[in-house]
């Protein structure tokens, strides 16, 4: 079942509809409820390689539905320390639980100060309302 629309308060958001959960010098990244809803049921996640570098505001992977392909934009920079293999095998997990089991990658942050430039949940919801 598709998840209900939510934007948790403990996450940071990027205007390209990506989220980050910062934990010390690491962060978990994923796509927002809005992004998965716009795409529809996900059928493919093309992940980055573990050990590769991702750069804030740049694409680090792709997600695909039956009809569409979308780049996944990194909200923060860092080194990929883990790819969510469960999502590679069953991409629809992202639709079911975009902020939980549907996370995409975990990175070691290059610059912990970068997170300050991201949106909080209220600001992101405001952005969605304006679209």
């Amino acid at each position: 079942m598709a998840a209900a629309e939510t934007y948790p308060d403990d996450l940071k958001y990027h205007q390209e509809h990506d989220w980050a959960r910062v934990d010390g010098d690491e962060a978990t990244l994923g796509i927002t409820w809005f992004a998965q809803d716009a795409l529809g049921e996900l059928v493919h996640f093309e992940p980055p390689q573990e050990g590769s570098e991702v750069t804030k505001d740049s694409s680090y992977g792709e997600v695909e539905s039956v009809k569409a392909v979308s780049e996944v934009i990194a909200p923060l920079s860092g080194e990929v320390v883990e790819v969510n293999r469960k999502v590679v095998d069953e991409p629809e997990i992202v639709n079911d639980d975009p902020y939980g089991d549907g996370w995409l990658v975990r990175i070691r942050l290059a610059d912990s100060g970068e997170a300050d430039s991201l949106l909080d949940a209220e600001a992101y919801k405001q952005l969605l309302a304006e679209q």
Binding site: E41, H44, E46, E64, V66, K67
Partner: protein, 349 residues
Amino acid sequence: MQTLERTPLHGRHVELGARLVPFAGWEMPVQYEGVIAEHRAVRTDCGVFDVSHMGELEVEGPRAAELLQDLLSNDLDRVDVGEAQYTLLTNERGGIVDDLIVYKLDPYHFLLIVNAANTRADYEWLKERELRGSDVRDVSSEYALLAVQGPRSIERLGLPDAKPFTFAEGELGGVECMVNRTGYTGERGVELLVEADDAVRLWDVVLERGARPCGLGARDTLRLEVCYPLHGNDITPETDAISAGLGWVCALDKQFTGVEELRRIKEAGPSRRLAAFVMVDKAIPRAGMAIAEGGEVTSGSLSPMLDVGIGMGYVEASGAAPDSELTIDVRGRSRKARVVKKPIYKRDD
């Protein structure tokens, strides 16, 4: 900005929460709840598609059959009243102006159901070539068309059995319509041609009888699994029927537009062929992607039944045989695919 046309069922789509997208100048439902679930409903039970965007042309008069026999690739003489035929409108180079189904209403009266994007071009093509005694009319705006498809579709609608590519006047829940045993999904089913004013009533009857509303997203994945070509993608005015694997709808022993060129291609053997393939590597092919061995993907998607990437594309004839390996350029990444016999999907029963 061009405004999009709406079918008589537009309000019903909105009420059902469909995602509406522009398609061939129309605002059409691409999905209601999800492409995959809708696709599976048609493969296992029954789904209904609003395909009212498709065009309807009538050709009538004592010389209607003569006109169509000259312009369409298949042999119209083999079609009796009450029967339909899949055929191609071809150009001088043997290219495909459109693919369509022709219905013989009576010996002097034919209905052509054509692709939405080509309705105007087809009409003009026929009109310019009209004979004295063959009147061509575009009646698209008078009708709506519902495709009810799936293994249980006939049973759910309570229709009698009938052969594929036949049609009859019928009635469903008090709504009169033309019941055509045709479709674009590879499943048994009907296409119901109904007067535009009756479309909503018919749609409601079909839904009450258990058909699941399905969008154009599922229509595309369904037709691709069974390798039905999509005009504009797999077949175009620049591609010929022989290379596309549509030689079976070309009566090369009769005269029609472009037949000499098609005979020549058939005789020499086409240099490229429209091949169907299944991804070996994990990736989803998309139209426009290059094939390293030579050629290009013309249709690609995920197969909801097989759960792998599938597609069709033109490849060198030497590499078009089943089991040939292809390498698809998926946005800069090389991904392996394997040519398969058409159709890609067939129920194992």
